[in-house]
Symmetry: C2
Amino acid sequence: MGISDDAVEVRAHGWRTLAALHGIIESELERALGASVDLSVVEYTVLDALSRQDGWHMRMQQLARATALSPSATTRLVTRLEDRGLLTRILCVDDRRGIYTELTSAGQALYEKAHPIHDEALERALGDAVEQPELAPVVHALQGLTVEA
Amino acid sequence: MGISDDAVEVRAHGWRTLAALHGIIESELERALGASVDLSVVEYTVLDALSRQDGWHMRMQQLARATALSPSATTRLVTRLEDRGLLTRILCVDDRRGIYTELTSAGQALYEKAHPIHDEALERALGDAVEQPELAPVVHALQGLTVEA
DNA sequence: CATTAATCATTGCACACGCAACTATCCAGC
DNA sequence: GCTGGATAGTTGCGTGTGCAATGATTAATG
């Protein structure tokens, strides 16, 4: 097995590791958020993204990007949250194709309730993961990232 | 914002980065494998896991672990692949609750066809990802993992 | 040895997703 | 100013998924 074949195998192995870690974290978040505030991970991601805009709007497309979801799934996701009164659709005036979404006060409140639960679950998941020798290096690499930008 | 709050934010940021990278890679693999051999990423994962056992069996539960899927989803996944003639169920003799799965020659052949496509797509996805400054450090960390174990 | 508990895999059901087709709106070229 | 093409978002449809309940087999306990 030559040098380039090794590189291929390293990539594949890295991808398997990444996928495993992703699965562990997502499962734990899903469980914790579902049990306490009845939110899925993507739903929380929406609230989080909107909240980080600090009361500002977000277009559907940005939301689709933030959640790694298709346009159609984004539509229904927003509809679900709107039906629960957590956010509102706002027609855009300068581009009447576009639709903005904004947190309601109920959405803001639920997000603030969910936030610490999310953080605890994430800490727990990473703590579990770091004990698996395969996953530990990736976990440490993640912790070393800078937050800015 | 104190020290421990920073740690929380670092974790959340790391998780968002991980999820973003995961999404990019999975989309690209899904597209490439679907177009060329009509396999989803999880389906390829099964063939890959079975193939890495080098002709040996795997229990449903191991498969569920390898794919990060629920037992029920694993059942149907195996059924799909079995219907396509890519693998076979084998009843276990020592524990008659358990069921082994094994690649057929057709499954082996399709895997060997899919493998280089998978690797190319993975290389392409990582190449794209490394150009995003947010993602680059994680990509490099993955490349630095050792393969053994 | 019988009975109860635990484990492996499968099915019913509801739901979230992606793809393709559709509508509405904006923009470019003439 | 009107027409053709691009873009934003929504809906129909088929499919993959998780949860809870079930059947089949093994292990534990009296």
